[in-house]
């Protein structure tokens, strides 16, 4: 915890022989989350994260091109296992994230307040909405196939059936709303069986690292979610151009020129691209954050005796 209000006074006592009876905070090092582990950036770099009033909060890891590649490798490695789990099981894991997040509400509320300058009530609403959104998507894991798939009545003696399947590795540039925004873009991706490389909000990355700790203790298999902190303009182009990334969510890109460059780079291997656009994250979501990262597979088989 890095909130100023908890910082003790270290002013020396007036009595020369008195002991200084204070406890110094054990601060947390904010690291990346790759393949289930928490490494620092391989580049050894960090950047200063300030609170809403411009005061120092922490040094966050500044992810490099190689960190991005490592994250993609971890996400690809985890994809088969995660996509292959039953939808029921994936739903339970996403629900478990909600449970663990709920248990760390106080910490996240403080971090959201620090990051955004939100009032305590706003921060509470933000964290509660994030928990509730995880619960909403957890329930979709084993229902989306029934809503978007089904039997197709073809004109012939064939059984024909379409069902959605995850697209693969999805690179997500998260918006600046540090927790609800992050959860809103991440939960649909993984609930459907994709694995994710998330580039956290550049100015407010700390709640993302805390969410990574939540996921690490919520039975999310290593590599299913990988969290990078750092500079969007530096890291996003490597993810957009990476040939083993299947889809790209540009929600967190505000600069239209950068969004365009990233979409152009994504064309090289025909990534599915979700363009940035106005979006009310507090409103009830539609299905499109899931369906954008789902493929439809249609299976035919002859009928006969």
């Amino acid at each position: 915890m890095t909130r100023r209000t908890t910082r003790p006074s270290t002013r020396p006592s007036t009595r020369p022989d008195a002991r200084i009876d204070v406890r110094i905070d054990v601060r947390k090092t904010y690291k990346l989350y790759i393949g289930g582990a928490f490494p620092r950036s391989e580049s050894g770099r960090s950047y200063v994260v300030d609170d809403a009033r411009g005061r120092f909060l922490a040094n966050a890891s500044q992810a490099s091109r190689k960190d991005a590649r490592d994250a993609v490798v971890a996400a690809r490695k985890a994809f088969g296992g995660w996509a292959g789990r039953t939808a029921y099981n994936r739903g339970q894991v996403v629900y478990r994230i909600a449970e663990v997040l709920e248990s760390r509400r106080a910490q996240l509320e403080a971090e959201v307040r620090d990051a955004t300058g939100a009032t305590p009530a706003q921060a509470r609403a933000n964290v509660e909405a994030a928990v509730d959104r995880l619960v909403w998507y957890a329930g979709w894991a084993d229902k989306i196939a029934q809503v978007t798939g089904g039997a197709n009545p073809v004109a012939g003696p064939y059984f024909n059936h379409s069902a959605p399947e995850p697209t693969g590795v999805v690179a997500v540039v998260a918006p600046d709303d540090p927790l609800l925004g992050l959860v809103s873009v991440l939960a649909p991706v993984i609930a459907c069986g994709n694995t994710a490389v998330v580039l956290a909000s550049e100015p407010h990355p700390l709640p993302a690292v805390t969410l990574a700790e939540v996921m690490a203790t919520a039975d999310v298999p290593g590599g299913v979610v990988n969290v990078l902190t750092g500079f969007r303009a530096e890291v996003a182009p490597w993810l957009a151009a990476h040939m083993d990334v299947n889809a790209l969510d540009l929600t967190g890109i505000d600069d239209p020129g950068l969004a365009r460059t990233l979409e152009e780079a994504a064309a090289e291997n025909l990534k599915r691209v979700r363009r940035p656009g106005p979006e009310d994250l507090t409103a009830a979501p539609a299905l499109d954050r899931m369906t954008t990262f789902l493929e439809t597979k249609t299976v035919w088989h002859p009928m006969g005796v």
Partner: protein, 478 residues
């Protein structure tokens, strides 16, 4: 093993049913108009006979067509009830059926495909597509894309030469059903059935500007995709062009669906009924001369039965009749263009040079026109270019595998992901395989089946979006 096992007398379909004009203009705002650009010739690939001069739309023609489509959208088509839009689509479906023979003959003349296929597959499926989407026009709120789905506006559509009328139907039917208007560019080598379709729109009294047909080549297509008045781009064709389109629309609000190349694995297990599997292999790669994005161009056969399967396949290939597309006995018609023939020849030569074993049945090819015999390569490795690149011709590469897991590995070892085939008697294995193949369409114990109700489209570099079925509406709604 020779083609004279069965002797057939020629049974040519009459050409008299079609009336090909010496020159064609563009179809804009309900009228045929002269283009502002140059013109090009479309030829019969089976004879190299020049069929007609066709206008090549330039940027000003594209602009006029997009404006016409916009007017039609805002003044008529988006204001009409879905039920009334649907009636126009039903009309179009019926006229396609009424003029089916004419369309089939014209398709075979312009494209080179056997009349048996244009008559039994292309044209009836095109009509069925319009019939299917006609019924959606007044039911869109039930399609699962929101309570009040809206059209996007003007759709710019670019289609390939392998199924000219059918691809037109795949593009136009869902676009119109959803309340969009269209500017469609048929392929340079196969414009004639699209122009006949323009006449069908006139016969159906479709409001002017709802459908606009611009003939031309790559430049025309680029202008359609790039036009700022286009709200939606739909493309079927090569992955290379698909990439260029994805780049061109970056940073815009255009919605895009792309149906691109493939290198499908057709997987035969040792328990598959061999005769059925061989028919499926033949249909998978020699249907439409292999000019099929979802063609089963990589045969993966289980090692224990590879010899038997290849031997029976060769025997069956010996009975394929290659020749006059209008002959009702013909199985394999002409290659669509000199350019495509050159590519097929080049990749086949590379296949030989890289060490694969090349075989074709003895078959006499006509003197004129573009022809390539059904060809199989054995001893192909995954590294060979004929196993990696889309040949888009009647050329099959045979690879082997031992275990289902190896078959999945090899099948998925491609940047494409359009289709796949599985041949086995074991149901649980079919479902296991089907769930692991990264492909948008999986045919088990069948191949190359298409239906308007069945979504079609790829994973990975085979593109995105689906055409057909309820899913096909999504690309045309907001």
């Amino acid at each position: 093993m020779t083609s004279n096992v069965f002797e057939y007398a020629p049974a040519p379909e009459s050409r008299s049913v079609v009336d090909i004009r010496s020159s064609y203009g563009l179809f804009v705002d309900g009228e045929f108009v002269e283009g502002h650009g140059r013109s090009f010739k479309t030829v019969n690939p089976a004879t190299e006979e020049v069929l007609a001069d066709v206008a090549e739309a330039d940027e000003s023609d594209v602009d006029a067509a997009v404006r016409a489509a916009r007017r039609a959208h805002s003044r008529v088509w988006s204001r009409m009830s879905g039920a009334e839009r649907g009636k126009y689509l039903f009309r179009i479906a019926r006229i396609i059926q009424e003029r089916a023979r004419e369309l089939a003959v014209l398709e075979s003349i312009d494209n080179g495909k056997p009349i048996r296929e244009s008559r039994d597959v292309d044209v009836p499926t095109a009509a069925a597509h319009f019939f299917y989407y006609a019924g959606w026009a007044d039911k869109l709120e039930y399609a699962g894309f929101g309570a009040d789905p809206q059209p996007l506006g003007v759709a710019g559509q670019v289609i390939p030469w392998n199924f000219p009328l059918l691809m037109l139907a795949w593009k136009i039917a869902p676009a119109l059903a959803c309340g969009n208007t269209v500017v469609l560019k048929p392929a340079e080598t196969t414009p004639l059935t699209a122009l006949l379709f323009a006449e069908i729109c006139q016969q159906a009294d479709l409001p002017p500007g709802v459908v606009n047909i611009l003939t031309g080549a790559g430049e025309t297509g680029r202008a359609v995709v790039a036009h700022p008045g286009v709200d939606k781009v739909a493309f079927t064709g090569s992955t290379e062009v698909g990439r260029a389109i994805a780049r061109a629309v970056a940073g815009t609000d255009k919605k895009v669906t792309l149906e691109l190349g493939g290198k499908a694995a057709n997987i035969v297990f040792d328990d598959a009924p061999v005769d059925q599997a061989v028919e499926g292999i033949v249909n998978g790669i020699f249907f439409n001369q292999g000019h099929v994005c979802c063609a089963g161009s990589r045969l993966l056969v289980q090692e224990s039965v590879a010899e038997e399967v290849v031997e029976r396949l060769k025997r069956r290939m010996g009975t394929l009749r290659v020749g006059d597309p209008l002959d009702k006995n013909t199985d394999v018609g002409a290659i669509n263009s000199a350019e495509q023939l050159a590519r097929i020849r080049q990749l086949s030569e590379i296949g030989e040079a890289e060490g694969a074993g090349r075989w074709s049945p003895p078959c006499e090819l006509p003197e004129h026109g573009y022809w390539f015999p059904p060809t199989v390569f054995t001893g192909v490795s995954q590294a060979h270019r004929i196993a990696r690149e889309e040949i888009f011709g009647p050329v099959l590469s045979v690879l082997t595998f031992r275990t289902p897991a190896e078959a999945v590995e090899k099948a998925n070892n491609t940047p494409y992901g359009l289709s796949a085939g599985i041949w086995t008697d074991k149901g649980s294995r079919i479902l296991w395989m089907a769930s692991r193949l990264r492909a948008g369409v999986v045919w088990s114990n069948t191949f190359n089946r298409f239906d308007p109700a069945s979504p079609f489209g790829g994973y990975k570099e085979s593109g995105y979006g689906r055409e057909g079925g309820r899913h096909g509406l999504e690309g045309y709604l907001k």
